[in-house]
Symmetry: C2
Subunit: 340 residues, 2 copies
């Protein structure tokens, strides 16, 4: 069993979890971050890497992936350990210290826990197609790391939201062909993206197969060769392709946390706004997963909650010490000890 | 009497006040911002324009002035009106609407007020030197807008904190001479800046006159010609110069707000954390000026409080309407109406 030890375990590597690494590091606390996805960034990476966010303070606009990159850089001087592709499952407490067992069997021992689990996303929703598992990671994808991997490929994109629409627009420029499969011709996407889809369709750079739904996958020599789709009237069409990208959102699950004795429910985790502490001492929660009077589900609110939780975590870990509040401008560059 | 009318009057044009313009604009509210200083940015502009801030989320580091520029750009699509060089003084309320009279006689009528007054700074501290007023704005300065205005000038800088030290380092490269006057040889400045001061002194690019205190100013033809300083043993020295920069901090004053019936005291303004509303309905407060359990005096906390106050202000202004929470990624580019 792989064992880890740290001051604070952060559950969730989304933007709010990453900012908590920084807030904790600034006041001298080390952290380990666990996430079910195989990359940091949560929904920003998985659902809208290219989509501009307009309400990060002092950023006119920043795409989800770029935001994550900046936050990770800012956290880096504090040497966080990222434990990806695994979920925090079992919690035990002994002598004021917590042990959390992960879905892969590894165990993290820590003095505090900060839960930044967002909506509790733990993986992509998989469409109900026979044998789809056998193509995953090779020709069936739920995330796109870079557009380049699809250059000169024939692509089918399935889904009707932001991610499907955004990636269709981006990949239309690099792929040999892009077919966008959706139940309706309308997409839940930004106005500009919808318009761009129509332009690309008119220019022959994109096929919108709608209303259509996926029926089955075909393969040759173990590789995906085609996606079979069906229209409302039952007519089937075979779309030859090299890769299928499915964007049906993230599966949501907070069930493991509901067993932690912290009051977690489908509505989130209640916290004391002054400390972000849950009903269980030493366990804090921040970001979209929490509930308190006046809670706004904004990334910038999660940043602030992370700072509050960090200070409260330090007070929990060192109950007998007095701390002097210091501004970052006084303390100097992160990660470098201040010389008195 | 100049009259203005708006949804929300923001008192204070520091980083938190500027971010409130954006948060209010995003949910359809117009704002006017009043500030005692002659430029937006509060302490970021006045005290540490060049100093890096490390704890703005998703910014490895950003100087005070650059932060203000970004926040102002982000607010600009909502067309805020900035009323500078004047203070909010008298408050009256009639039929659920507020009127605030400014120190220059102008009056703003509004439905809500958001106070982002920071420490209540209203101007630079002036050293007790005879006739200093007559040189102000020409050869005696309390802020530096750009280093260029001092190129090839002989400069005296007075003060012992960040601003004095930072500007001494910067101006040593452009001015003919820089003399830094302080009561002690030690400066309340970042380690790196202290070290740089010593290097510049060794290289002959800077004179540190310490321990010394300013005694008087001399002039020729109405222009500043020298600063006379005195050491602890009473010995006087005459330093010829073209300009004197004084950095003795900002004078702090919340006295006008203390008459507004909002519970303001020297310790700040108590608010309900869920709405940022003060004890008086329709008047909100955010940023360093507020107090509530768990309050952290961080800029990022003020950003979050601004979003909370904005939503509460809207609920106050439109008590009968229901609002749907919308993410910036869905709403699209700020300032442009969303097409349904």
């Amino acid at each position: 069993v792989k064992q880890y030890s740290t001051d604070v375990l952060i559950v969730g590597a989304g933007p709010v979890g990453l900012s908590a690494v920084f807030s904790l590091g600034q006041i001298g606390l080390r952290s380990i971050v666990v996430d079910a996805l195989d990359a940091i960034g949560g929904q920003c990476t998985a659902l809208y890497p290219e989509k501009p966010i307009y309400d990060i303070p002092a950023r006119m606009q920043i795409a989800g992936a770029a935001l994550i990159e900046e936050l990770a850089q800012q956290a880096a001087p504090y040497n966080p350990v990222y434990l990806l592709s695994r979920r925090a499952i079992d919690l035990t407490e002994q002598n004021g210290s917590f042990s959390v067992a992960m879905s892969d069997g590894s165990v993290v021992t820590c003095g505090c826990i900060v839960i930044a689990a967002g909506v509790g996303a733990f993986g992509p929703n998989r469409p109900p197609l026979a044998n789809i598992e056998q193509f995953e990671g090779r020709s069936v994808h739920y995330f796109v790391r870079s557009a380049e991997q699809f250059r000169n490929k024939r692509i089918v994109i399935a889904g009707g939201g932001d991610s499907a629409a955004d990636w269709a627009v981006i990949l239309a420029e690099v792929a040999t062909s892009v077919t966008l499969v959706h139940r309706r011709r309308a997409f839940r996407a930004a106005e500009a993206t919808q318009k761009k889809l129509e332009e690309l369709e008119l220019a022959g750079k994109l096929i919108i197969a709608a209303p259509q739904s996926m029926q089955s996958l075909e393969s040759e020599n173990g590789l995906l060769s085609a996606v079979v789709v069906k229209s409302d009237d039952g007519a089937q069409t075979r779309i030859s392709c090299d890769a299928l990208l499915c964007f049906f959102g993230l599966a949501k699950d907070l069930s493991a946390l509901m067993k932690w004795g912290i009051g977690a429910s489908r509505n989130g985790i209640p916290v004391d706004y002054a400390t972000m502490q849950t009903s269980r001492r030493g366990i804090f929660a921040i970001g979209d997963v929490v509930s308190y009077a006046g809670k706004l589900k904004l990334i910038l609110t999660g940043f602030s909650e992370g700072a509050v939780a960090a200070h409260a975590a330090r007070a929990h870990l060192f109950p007998d010490r007095q701390f002097h509040f210091e501004y970052s401008t006084t303390r100097g560059r992160p990660g470098i000890e201040k010389v008195a």
